[in-house]
Amino acid sequence: MTKLEVRHVTFAYENTNIIEDISLKLNENELVCLLGVSGSGKTTLFNVISGLQKPDSGSVLLNGNDITEKPGNVSYMLQKDLLLPYRTIEDNVALPLIIKGVKKREAREKASEHFADFGLEGTQKRFPSELSGGMRQRAALLRTYMFSGEVALLDEPFSALDALTKHDIHSWYLDVMSRIKLSTLFITHDIDEAILLSDRIYLLNGKPGRITDEIIIERPGGSRENFNLTGEFLEYKRKILSKL
């Protein structure tokens, strides 16, 4: 079932098209990646999907309803973790609910149900500055999830982490994903990360940015374990490199 659909979106800034005629689909429980060189308009596309910016043409649909230029429908995690330094982790995570009008105490309770799932036990009363980068990223992901358990847009969610932490958080994220039902569209410029995590990859190319290819990733036995050491993985990588 299609959760999110982007139809022929074009966005221009000062009369120059940044992205042109972008169409894509995100199905339920799918993990789809937008892969492209920097400057191909990935973040602009996310700003349009999240409703922050108005496209010059085209539309965005969530469950078949038009959400173009209507913020507050899909979760959006921007590049940095953007945890508010003056709120405790618990209050950071509960913020999306509070903004929706849920009472503070109730919002905290709802948020606290997920702390264990996200590996954040014991951090409720801490401030973000007291947490490591990986933990902050988890908290930011939980906050994104608290906003809407349906569709999440993640803009380079793991780019600020070092390689080892990244590896940990990849397997952790996939584990969480399998437990919570979340359809995710994420941006990366890391080809390995894209092949490892995604069910499908859209390649975004050129100026203005257009979707040039769609690649479906099939893993032998459906397992991601050591997938990045297989020949198939390299084959995908070669294919993508030739098209970027």
Binding site: N47, S50, G51, L52, P71, G72, N73, Y76, L78, Q79, K80, L82, L84, P85, Y86, R87, L95, P96, I98, I99, K100, G122, T123, R126, F127, S129, E130, L131, S132, M135, F147
Partner: protein, 260 residues
Amino acid sequence: MKKKLQSTISKLALPAGAVVAALVIWQLVCSAGLVPSFLLPSPIDVGKAFVTDFSLLFSHSCVTLLETFIGLVLGIALGFVLALLMDRFRLLYKMLYPLIVITQTVPTVAIAPLLVLWFGYEMVPKVILIVIIVFFPIAVNLLDGYRSADNDTINLLRSMGASKTQILRYVKLPSALGHFFAGLKIAVSYAVVGAVISEWLGGFKGLGVYMTRVKKAYSFDKMFAVIFLISALSLILMWLVKILEKKFMPWKYRNNQKSI
């Protein structure tokens, strides 16, 4: 532990030592008779004057502090509302900002007598003067603070469907708190001085009134006593601001141990 002790010593003991040394030199100069005692009373004389006039000083301090307090509250409220409106309405910002700066170039000593003529010798002109002095650092610091709020964070909240009021409450206000307290620290010390100045220029009670009286009587020991008292009051108020700051901004003062 040793390091902590050392930092406490350098933080407290060194400045305290300097103050004591200055007092000792001053006392020696007076005792040696280098300066006639009616021109410069010795610290001990000042201390004695403080003790004999304590009840009088206390009742005058109460008046001055009350004026300061009312002026501060009103000034902060005015600065706060003004900053809110100016942040929300760009036009208002453009109109009022230069005006606010101009009000600060008008010397307080020059408007104080006018205020006395307009509003009499009671508390009103003093409070008005303090409000004029206080609202500026509050408004300007808050405005800077609102502007310092991170744009990405604001976008994040917008993507959650937050209203302008919610963005103000959850992002802009907390981001401006540090600026606000910096402004408040300046505001409280100015407010005390402002109260004293306006009392000089006309009034029935207050430290400024006491000051003009003892000056006319050439009681320099009492004069010094009240000067020290005013400094002490300003310091106490600034210290209170510091305590408030710690209470309202716990994240700034929490030890950043990255244990998790």
